[in-house]
Symmetry: C2
Subunit: 501 residues, 2 copies
Amino acid sequence: MIDIRDRVRCKALHDKIVSAEEAAAFIKPGMNIGASGFTPAGYPKAVPLALAKRMAQDPFKINLWTGASVGKELDGALAAVGGIHKRMPYQTNTDLRNALNSGEVEYYDLHLSESAQLTRYGFLGGKVDVAIVEACAITEEGHIVPTTSLGNTASYVQSADIVIVEVNTTQPLELEGMHDVYVPLDPPHRQPVPIVKVDDRIGTTYIPCGPDKIKYIVPCDITDDVRPFGPIDECSQKMSELIIDFFKHEIKVGRMPKNMLPLQSGVGSVANAVISGFVDSDFTDLEVYTEVIQDGMLDLTDAGKLKFASGTSFSPSPDGLKRLYSNIGVYRQKMMLRPQEIANSPEIARRIGIIAMNTAIEFDIFGHVNSTHIMGSKMMNGIGGSGDFARNAYLTCFFSTSTAKNGAISSIVPMCSHIDHTEHDTDIFVTEMGLADVRGLSPRERARVIINNCAHPDYKPMLLDYLKKGEKATKKAHTPHVIKDALSWHARFIKTGTMKK
Amino acid sequence: MIDIRDRVRCKALHDKIVSAEEAAAFIKPGMNIGASGFTPAGYPKAVPLALAKRMAQDPFKINLWTGASVGKELDGALAAVGGIHKRMPYQTNTDLRNALNSGEVEYYDLHLSESAQLTRYGFLGGKVDVAIVEACAITEEGHIVPTTSLGNTASYVQSADIVIVEVNTTQPLELEGMHDVYVPLDPPHRQPVPIVKVDDRIGTTYIPCGPDKIKYIVPCDITDDVRPFGPIDECSQKMSELIIDFFKHEIKVGRMPKNMLPLQSGVGSVANAVISGFVDSDFTDLEVYTEVIQDGMLDLTDAGKLKFASGTSFSPSPDGLKRLYSNIGVYRQKMMLRPQEIANSPEIARRIGIIAMNTAIEFDIFGHVNSTHIMGSKMMNGIGGSGDFARNAYLTCFFSTSTAKNGAISSIVPMCSHIDHTEHDTDIFVTEMGLADVRGLSPRERARVIINNCAHPDYKPMLLDYLKKGEKATKKAHTPHVIKDALSWHARFIKTGTMKK
Ligand SMILES: CC(C)(COP(=O)(O)OP(=O)(O)OC[C@H]1O[C@@H](n2cnc3c(N)ncnc32)[C@H](O)[C@@H]1OP(=O)(O)O)[C@@H](O)C(=O)NCCC(=O)NCCS
Ligand SMILES: CC(C)(COP(=O)(O)OP(=O)(O)OC[C@H]1O[C@@H](n2cnc3c(N)ncnc32)[C@H](O)[C@@H]1OP(=O)(O)O)[C@@H](O)C(=O)NCCC(=O)NCCS
């Protein structure tokens, strides 16, 4: 067994160091498990793998609550053995996705900022029975030093009676000091979250726990299962240029400060491309208040353009992770991880005036956005934090290529097949075709701008035709839909494999 | 002309007292007019009537920005002469509704908490050219004492170069002292809104203005155009009982404090019935943090059950208005009006843990809510503050009768024809048939609870049938829709006049 005694600084806890198998044996069927982890970063690995092994022999299910998606050793391994009954709040794993789209797993897809408080309120069917938490170290007082993510971990530890800690020796000890742990009180006792600048420190560098709650400590040396990014393609490049030009224009006309406002950028390749666009720009002193810190933020730091980045997890590519680890002394001056309840807090997003940039699966001509469902039924990932930011941002931008599946799908449709962000929340739409600024526009006005600026030429005439028919059928009602045809594009795709006629 | 000089305490301003016609003559075509008013309360009346008269002779249009809906002397009169080009953020007037559903008026329907800041940011097409504000009085320093609503008035006055004040002698001077005026700074300078209890006072009792900005002062003696409530019908009574029983259960199991958390309740008869239910209950020390203070709140006060109510407008029935005016000494101990940016603030709603209760036009089996559109196209009123509260509340409840139009419409549908609140925001649904608690449930689970507890017996089998077909067609996908049939109930109604087959 790997020796982790130097990382378990509370000597009284050394007796609790056990194998992953022994710790996993403690988990009972039907338990609510609150795990650390947010994106493939900072999630427990050894205990879940041992648990999955046990479930493979003796099938049973647990409910799994995390920060967001987690790596294959947790979501993947448990889904593969049918070990999850209920899952919240976010996932991206292929096996799990298949399970929740076939009635095997019940998935509760909710705003990431709300998941911790709903757990504390007791709204999700009982409390956290066991928290399983990856740590860099355990302090002299028995508190937990987190690793590459913070997510909901502090709340799960606070709510749980029993805590299992996985001390991961691949996580550098220099991560200690990069976290700012703050768990709000619940109503009617809650106080203002005292953040007014992205780098304000309001909490502790460890998760308060104490030795008594810790039942087992398990050594682990499996690294975070981070994924490479694809190269920045032409479409992402184009969208990045469009939005940066737009920001420059907003600054010029006085609607945005010169060094912008704090940037939030979603997960994935478009988001990464946009941030990379800033690296090559003449912006300086940029601030970031976001969920996930990816490679782009490291590039911004290296280019001397980043003032500070606050997030809830480090989720770079494998190369990025190496850079982060090897240069951590530099990055720790510029970066901080917070609980997702604070990273995604509506209060903070509105106060500091975030510029929210997220990716859509599809959006419709009236400005509604689908972030989650393929053809209205199949869950892709989940809403994640996109709603926390989109609703409360200073400016809300959504990105998508104008088509999907080699042009068989238009990402701009008459009506979204599922709606995660309503017309009331969206300001700017960007595809590789152009940018639509719909601030202050009525739905009829919005439709024209969105179709003309963002739609693919193959679909533009069809969309304009739909709009005109809607105006005729409804005598120019506020939102002129032809209800019987509103979802016909999706129905056609399901039937024929293309939205084209 | 009515003598208002005793109410214009800044003597230097007496020269600016003019007729409504003279003030209205100052308005130019295309101007952005920021008016006071929130529900038929506290809106200017004399100047808009004079403006409408002028427009009738010499047609032109302005853009009208208010707090929310306003009375017939403003929305009604201007819509009747085709005097509105663009309207935001909320309306309920029949003439205006017809105009925006026939392409005559462009309507920007947005979250009420956001309208003031979007104006200040300059996102809505220019700034406020002229603010027209109803006042009880003007202070010695030239500041404005508002009347029965606060809405966006303070922001409009702050942003405008020119202010026209209507001093309304029907508004009692005892309203002075009931307002708490606070306009946040904009990012990056914004600070926490320092409210932790519903009765915390954080601002001034007047709207800061100063004599220089005031161009004209107009006397007015037209009363607020408040409307009577219908008697509480059987359905509303039943819904009120269901939700109060549910709250009692939540208190019993420890998920809610004994005297509840601050209540928010929407506009209209169901909302009023629910509040009346509390009057007859054994709850005490109730707190209210809401938009509109209606008759029910007066009843709660009279019954000794109200600790404090914070809102942004007084919108009682004609009888209620009389009660408010004649007993204002008592009510002013218990009630306060704030800007809607603060009354509806996401920051405050989440901090103090509001219980949000609003009415839906329809909701779907997966928990999405339509608050605004009839059959997907025709605007009813607008989203108002329902999204501000629903998204950020401790608990989010929506009410609707199970059917509309004598049973020809099911208010519970396979898919909403327009979505204002997503599945991610809703907890509790109530119809006269029963209550559905969907917290923590997956869409497949939610659908069964909603159909079984809330649907009308005439539509229950049809809804269950849709769900089963969806599960078959999608092999139990996360949200099992039959996309080609998802809006077929609405299409059928449009074609045949009923959702029944
Ligand atoms: C929306 C989201 C799925 C896009 O992710 P992405 O990696 O940029 O998307 P891609 O273009 O690779 O598309 C993903 C898949 O959806 C498919 N797709 C994209 N648009 C589609 C559309 N309009 N209709 C159907 N399928 C579509 C793609 O073809 C691809 O399918 P594949 O996996 O079979 O190849 C992702 O951003 C997400 O999950 N967002 C929600 C949460 C969120 O916004 N988090 C960030 C804030 S915290
Ligand atoms: C949703 C809302 C319109 C309901 O208001 P209400 O007065 O309780 O509703 P009613 O039952 O009287 O219905 C209003 C109309 O809609 C019709 N209607 C109701 N449900 C319907 C449905 N499912 N489909 C079609 N029409 C429907 C009614 O028949 C009625 O029509 P009529 O005016 O022709 O008679 C109203 O609450 C609203 O505007 N809400 C949005 C803003 C908000 O929530 N504000 C409060 C928070 S700040």
